[in-house]
């Protein structure tokens, strides 16, 4: 059910995921266009240590530049940024990153809620947030904020997610704008236009 006609421009895509989401990313990345006109920011729950593992895994599958987000780093179109383990990732008004070592949210740091909320505040209605597989409550509050700012809510189809709980929460509590299977996501992202 990936839509091909998308009227609203996209200034950033933020992807959140927990258990079972790595497979989805590995499915998406090889199929992404190499010149996306917006940044992709990824927040995946994982244990501290093994820092560059996820970055390497994704970098090996795409021509986009993949890197761990650094504090104060300007956010650029066509780049993929990954939230570092054990810090919350925030987005500044001037489109750069801040890191925050405050309490875990939903037992998680980085928390998907924190980045979704902060991105919503900056990108407003041109933000696309994608919530993938997971068995955690993280992401729901963030999506609520995104919706309030009229950004777009995209969830992985709970029926085909390894861990349906996380996207299902959004499906039941908020109205998702798009419900996609893992194999439909890359073309969905490729078809998003610049603002």
């Amino acid at each position: 059910m990936a839509e091909t006609v998308i009227t609203q421009g996209c200034s950033a895509v933020v992807i959140g995921g927990s258990a079972g989401s790595l497979d989805v990313l590995l499915e998406i990345f090889p199929k992404l266009d190499k010149n996306l006109p917006f940044p992709i920011i990824i927040v995946i729950h994982r244990k501290p240590g093994g820092e560059s593992l996820l970055t390497d895994l994704l970098q090996n599958r795409t021509q986009l530049n993949v890197m761990e987000a650094e504090e104060k780093q300007p956010i650029k179109a066509g780049y993929v940024y990954i939230a570092p383990a054990d810090y919350h990732l925030l987005i500044e008004e001037n489109q750069s990153f801040s890191l925050d070592y405050s309490e875990k949210i939903n037992y998680s740091r980085p928390s998907i809620d924190v980045t979704f909320q902060s991105a919503a505040d900056v990108y407003k209605d041109s933000l696309y947030c994608i919530l993938l597989s997971g068995s955690n409550a993280d992401g729901l509050d963030g999506m609520r904020t995104v919706k309030r700012f009229k950004g777009k809510l995209v969830i992985q189809n709970p029926d085909t997610a390894i861990m349906p709980f996380m996207p299902q929460q959004v499906k039941s509590n908020l109205k998702a704008d798009y419900i996609l299977n893992a194999w439909e996501m890359a073309s969905f992202i490729n078809n998003l236009c610049k603002v």
Binding site: E71, K72, Y87, I91, S98, S102, S118, D141
Partner: protein, 272 residues
């Protein structure tokens, strides 16, 4: 809900009030995180309007204490980033051990876990007796806790794992006595610590040190303020002394970095 009710302009109003009334300058803190802390507190404390929130912060000293505690993030751990403590143990402290006396500044020490970790390493290197740790923070409430050397027993399992990975040479449980839900750390460690408030934004250099540790504080400051604080540290480090930052912080864009040399792969620099 976060972000629901306070806009950027209102954040500025509150920060200006705080500077005017209490003298704390948060204007150069990273905006996104301070905004998140303030909106979080607003909803946590169930204020109904911005006006009421503003009035309370300005006029209720007791509430301002809470405000300060909540917006300065106090989260910390013992032996956080074990590889950092391995570098201290194997590379930095042995070099400083050749000095007759070692002065160390732990800036932004929060509730003290970092200062205690450092004291333990110094003790195991047989250097604690000739060391003095100045542990400072902007927030007086965390210093009161730090002085007591009481840490929640819940965290001790994690800390002792960190300690082992940091190549601790003792049995970690030798350093504390468990008492109900708390672990009371050895007084011998505290005896080499001096706790004091110090605001990195507005206070000056107060001594010369062979090692300054300031970890996970600068991520909350904007670039210009970070550079001001680096200058303050530069004025407070002896030649051949060390500066240690948090694992996601860096001296990289600071103009004086050429006077410093990075120690291996950790966020530790030596003044040349």
């Amino acid at each position: 809900m976060f972000n629901e009710t306070i806009d950027n302009e209102q954040i500025q109003i509150i920060l200006n009030d705080i500077l005017e009334v209490y003298g704390y300058d948060f204007l150069e803190y990273s905006h996104a995180s301070i905004k998140r802390r303030i909106t979080r507190l607003f909803s946590l404390d169930k204020f109904v309007s911005f006006a009421e929130f503003r009035y309370t912060i300005k006029n209720d000293k007791q509430y301002f204490k809470r405000f300060l505690e909540e917006i300065t993030v106090n989260v910390t751990e013992m032996f956080r980033d074990p590889s950092f403590y391995r570098a201290l143990r194997n590379d930095v402290l042995p070099t400083l051990g050749t000095y007759p006396f070692i002065r160390i500044w732990v800036a932004g020490c929060s509730t003290g876990e970092e200062a205690f970790s450092l004291a333990i390493v110094l003790k195991e290197l047989n250097l604690l007796h000739k060391s003095l740790i100045y542990a400072t923070d902007i927030n007086p409430a965390v210093l009161e806790k730090a002085k007591k050397g009481l840490f929640s027993l819940n965290h001790l399992k994690q800390y002792s794992e960190n300690y082992l990975q940091a190549e601790g040479t003792n049995d970690f449980s030798n350093y504390y006595i468990a008492n109900y839900s708390l672990a009371k750390f050895d007084q011998a460690l505290t005896s080499k610590m001096i706790f004091s408030t110090h605001n990195l934004v507005s206070d000056h250099s107060f001594n010369e040190f062979q090692l300054i540790m300031c970890r996970n504080v600068l991520i909350y400051f904007d670039k210009d303020l970070q550079h001001k604080v680096f200058n303050l540290f530069d004025n407070s480090i002896e030649k051949l002394g060390y500066l240690a930052l948090g694992s996601k912080e860096s001296l990289d864009f600071w103009p004086k970095i050429k006077d410093y040399k990075r120690v291996k792969t950790e966020k530790i620099w030596r003044k040349l």
